[in-house]
């Protein structure tokens, strides 16, 4: 039982049919998240990070749909269940935290009403118990004077406090999996540090599996146990956070890390990756990264990048960087 991951995604493919052909914003993505683990998902905009999260939780907007692959929650298939079943799974077994805390709360209901509604929908408790649990949930996420604040409306909270309410809402029915999509992007640095510390504490104390989608490498480095790097809908690299950041195997990961101002401290110019990410409708043949890759060879331009699970290292790359260094040495 302990070895079954909370979330297991196998060869997930999401397609969007358009007039100009079928786009694949998520292409053969596979990963597991275990209990008490934070998996960071990084990539630039349009890399498919949020789309992967939405596919897992069943919130894809049509015409986007899962065309192949599997999503397993505690060993059970959930990508093809009925909408009704999915509705019961969401909240109870999967919580979601979005980027903008103002749009993910109902402005016409007090936070207490929103919390008790979620609790009594998913757990078999009395109204009074639901109220108690709602206050406990607000206290747990660090909202001062929770018993009084429970009757406040979302607009009466500051941005950071609102994001805490959203986290309380995601966790109040005690789900095993939480998907946090850019939870700190709209927040200030000092509040961001508070929210990241909160997520880490909840993950550790409750053994929740967290999928943390963000574009901030610093947040990933501090919070995540493992990190998945996405590029043009595919996983470029997946591995323990320390190794991916300090010794990236995929040239894209390495370029991404080097182009942050932190990494080139003291240098006059930042390292930059030339060009920008290709549009989904105009992906190059071979590895999607090959036109921007300084190490690209003929094979990269002809054959699609190797599948992560079949290659030796962490990176979906024909010529991973560490292998190159070894052969030189």
């Amino acid at each position: 039982m302990t070895n079954t991951p909370i979330l297991s995604v196998r060869d997930l493919v999401v397609e969007i049919p358009t007039r100009h052909g079928i786009l694949r914003p998520v292409d053969q993505v596979s990963y597991d998240i275990h209990a008490g683990e934070i998996l960071g998902v990084v990539g630039e905009s349009g890399a498919g990070k949020s789309m992967t999260g939405n596919a897992v939780i069943g919130l894809l907007d049509p015409p986007a749909r899962i065309t192949s692959g599997e999503v397993l929650l505690q060993g059970e298939l959930i990508h093809n269940v009925s909408r009704d079943k999915l509705r019961r799974l969401r909240g109870r077994h999967m919580g979601m935290i979005f980027q903008d805390p103002l749009t993910s709360l109902n402005p016409l209901l007090t936070v207490g009403e929103q919390l008790t509604e979620t609790i009594s929908e998913h757990l078999d408790v009395s109204q009074a118990d639901a109220q108690k649990r709602a206050i406990a949930a607000l206290e747990e996420v660090g909202i001062p004077a929770a018993a009084q604040r429970i009757d406040s409306y979302p607009h009466e909270f500051s941005g950071g406090m609102r994001q805490r309410v959203v986290i309380a809402l995601a966790l109040c029915a005690e789900p095993e999996l939480v998907i946090a999509d850019e939870p700190t992007t709209a927040l200030d640095v000092s509040v961001q540090a508070q929210i990241v510390a909160l997520l880490k504490r909840l993950c550790r104390e409750r053994g929740v599996a967290v999928m943390l989608v963000t574009h901030d490498m610093g947040v990933i480095a501090e919070a995540a146990d493992r990190v998945a790097v996405m590029y043009a809908g595919r996983l470029a690299e997946l591995g323990p956070v320390r190794e991916v950041i300090t010794a990236a195997e995929h040239p894209y990961t390495s370029g991404l890390m080097a182009s942050t101002p932190l990494a080139s401290r003291g240098q006059k110019r930042l390292r930059q990756i030339p060009g920008s990410m290709p549009r989904l409708g105009a992906l190059p043949t071979g590895c999607a990264f090959n036109p921007r890759c300084e190490f690209a060879q003929d094979r990269c331009r002809q054959d699609p990048s190797p599948r992560l699970d079949t290659c030796d290292g962490r990176a979906a790359c024909w010529f991973p960087l560490t292998a190159k260094k070894e052969s030189v040495a």
Binding site: E44, S45, S158, G159, G160, M161, D188, V189, S190, V191, Q192, A193, Q194, V196, A197, K200, H215, D216, M217, G218, V219, A221, E222, D225, V241, R242, I245, G255, L256, M257, S259, T260, P261, L262, A263, S264, R265, K268, R269, L270, R271, Q272, I273, S276
Partner: protein
């Protein structure tokens, strides 16, 4: 006085009262928000001065006052010795205005979607009746786009490319100063590095002076020569870059540095900062930071600290040393 921009005791107050009828019916007093309070600093020619702070710290308001989009309530901004808000000589105002341009945060909102790129870039010159032939094409190549892009519309470009167009437009009137308000916050990391490198190159090529406004400490550390840290509209610390990052003196600066995520801090257990930024309409008495400050004393809640010179650093804190 070799300072190109001199900001003295700058204050800006916004009236945020309810409409007068509500005030009468609900018996509410007028309320005011002090966005910028008594800020003084100077920017040397051909340097990069950065203002950092969290939301509501007044950094964008200062930027807008410096370019003349918002008039100050009190204090003055002098550019090359000319104060835009009080200067009477129109010719002088025109000359100073041409010397200062701005780059905004959101490259999607700051380009007119119905104009061709050529017209957008040439506008600062065309508005004054200057010669614009070939100008847009030349500038596009300077910012790393191609001359053929001049006849396209903004929607045909990605976020990073749009920001390059904004930079090209800012360069059109051959300014001395560019005010950059969060120029890379809307961009991805790899595109951000391209834009920052471009800005460094242009600075050297044209001898530009930047007022660089950002909330991102890592970007500021890379770009700035001198940094001012703002908290609730007040300048709390100002120092050359290396002095600030090596020995931050103000407790707020220290808190900000500790809270910033670091790429080498795997699984770091930080003690996150306490509390939040207070309401700017009713700021705390004395030092605005004292409710969150770990070393605050009684004096901090009673008396607003003056700016003090400590080595290269200016700091507004009773206890800093």
């Amino acid at each position: 006085m070799s300072a190109l921009i001199s900001v003295r005791n700058l204050t800006r107050v916004f009236d945020v009262s309810k409409p007068w009828l509500n005030r009468v019916i609900e018996r509410l007093p007028k309320s005011f928000l002090t966005a910028v309070s008594d800020v003084t600093f100077q920017i040397e020619e051909n340097s990069v001065y950065a203002l950092v702070g969290e939301s509501g710290s007044g950094k964008s308001t200062i930027g807008k006052i410096v370019v003349g989009l918002v008039p100050p309530s009190d204090g003055a901004v002098e550019i090359n010795g000319t104060d835009l808000a009080t200067e009477k000589d129109d010719a002088k105002i025109e000359a100073v205005r041409a010397d200062i341009q701005m780059i905004f945060q959101d490259p999607y909102a700051s380009l007119n979607p119905r104009w061709r790129v050529r017209d957008i870039i040439a506008e600062p010159v065309a508005a004054k009746g200057g010669d614009t032939s070939g100008l847009a094409e030349r500038l596009l190549e300077q910012v790393g786009l191609s001359a053929a892009d001049a006849s396209k519309y903004p929607h045909e470009f990605s976020g990073g490319q749009r920001q390059r167009i904004c930079i090209a437009r800012a360069l059109a009137s051959e300014p001395k100063i560019i005010v950059c308000d969060e120029p890379t916050s809307a961009l991805d990391v790899s595109v951000q590095s391209q834009v920052l490198n471009l800005m460094s190159d242009l600075r050297e090529e044209f001898g530009l002076t930047y007022l660089f406004i950002s909330h991102d400490l890592t970007v500021v550390q890379h770009m700035a020569d001198r940094i001012g840290v703002l908290y609730l509209g007040r300048l709390v610390e100002e120092a050359p870059r290396d002095a600030l990052f090596e020995t931050p003196k103000h407790p707020y600066t220290q808190m900000l540095f500790d809270a910033a995520p670091r790429m080498d801090a795997f699984g770091r257990e930080v003690d996150p900062p306490k509390g939040e930024i207070p309401d700017a309409i009713n700021p705390p008495t004395g030092c605005a930071f004292h409710p969150r400050c770990p070393i605050a004393t009684d004096r901090c809640s009673a008396e607003r600290p003056e700016m003090r010179q400590l080595g290269d650093t200016r700091v507004a804190c009773h206890l800093a040393e």
